[in-house]
Subunit: 211 residues, 2 copies
């Protein structure tokens, strides 16, 4: 089984590394980071680059496609090279997945029309413009399409998908080895839980607010 | 404020990316990935490389030091270049931190003697050999020394430290933007919660079991 995680300029690193650290522990799977060109790809903060080891062209038919999000997603929604690759890869994939605003890239490729999906909470309504049906859930399965909410939700998505592919016990073993027993110091990880003025500020300053 | 995250061959990627994605959102901070040499550094699975943008020598006195863990930690505990850098950086750091078995590297540098600390659950007892006092907590503060448990706990550590440095509201804002509202599909993320036979198998096959 081949798992391809797509990188692009100004992606959010944890969007990609959550699924990597969980799904990547699938026995006998080949996980590969892909981008238009090989070499370092910078994340949204500029302080981190992950290496793309293979080009999109070199990995035409992965079994699992993972698309992260991040501010660079806006440009990717108009990147015909990536969109065409996604449409082609999706024709033979077993699972087509995204984390955060990666779902907007899938939607932009026309892959989420009529499907239940999720995204970063700030981008959720934007999915409707592409005919998808946004939900407030953290991990959404609709057939072979699996979308996750913002950034850290890729860990939950990765474990859930790992359970479907390799069985509950294998996923539990990965949860145990990654010691994923979360104890956040605050309970502010969703818009209905966080201080209301923070949610308002983010909404007012979001690029999505202009659309 | 300068934050240095140390990379070394066969580190665990999420150990480093959890603190990056949280602490790296500190306003006016410079976060930099460092290693003995600049260039790509491969993670434990071999499927991912993160770029080290600066050498250890180029970043002699960061305010915050973050040491991830991973199977490569064993060699690093005998790497005098890294140990000497850690001892020197620790003399002027505001916070000296680790995730997972990164605490063993700090311990190997002599920095955790007589201190309360934590590590990956499989490595916890091993801390005693270096005079540290292992705890079962997920994030442990002892003065300026902050250690986190296995892999994913670096997210909790990063948010907690961010709160100390920049205030609760800033940390809550980062939690909201990374949508860190964890919903693991299983409750198997700690040895007292996971199926007992999985815990036994990992203990029996661990390199720590031989020590």
């Amino acid at each position: 089984m081949q798992i391809a995680i797509v990188l692009f300029d100004r992606f959010t690193a944890l969007d990609a590394v959550g699924p990597y650290e969980t799904l990547g522990r699938l026995p006998d799977a080949e996980l590969v980071f892909v981008a238009e060109e090989t070499g370092p790809v910078r994340s949204d903060t500029g302080a981190l680059a992950l290496m793309a080891d293979r080009t999109l062209a070199e990995v035409p038919a992965p079994d699992v496609v993972v698309v992260p999000g991040g501010p660079g997603q806006f440009e990717q929604m108009e990147n015909e090279t990536l969109l065409a690759w996604l449409r082609a890869a999706d024709r033979t994939s077993t699972w087509t997945t995204s984390v955060c605003t990666g779902s907007l890239i899938l939607a932009g490729a026309g892959l989420l029309e009529g499907r239940r999906a999720t995204s970063h909470w700030l981008a959720l309504d934007f999915l409707k413009q592409y005919g998808a049906e946004p939900t407030g859930e953290r991990v959404v399965f609709d057939g072979k399409y699996v979308t996750a909410a913002g950034v850290s939700s890729g860990i939950d998505m990765g474990l859930t998908l790992l359970g479907r592919i390799a069985g509950d016990e294998h996923a539990q073993a990965v949860q145990l080895m990654t010691e994923y027993d979360p104890q956040p110091p605050y309970d502010a990880g969703a818009p209905h839980k966080a201080p209301a003025h923070l949610v308002e500020e983010f909404r007012a300053n979001s690029r999505f607010a202009l659309m």
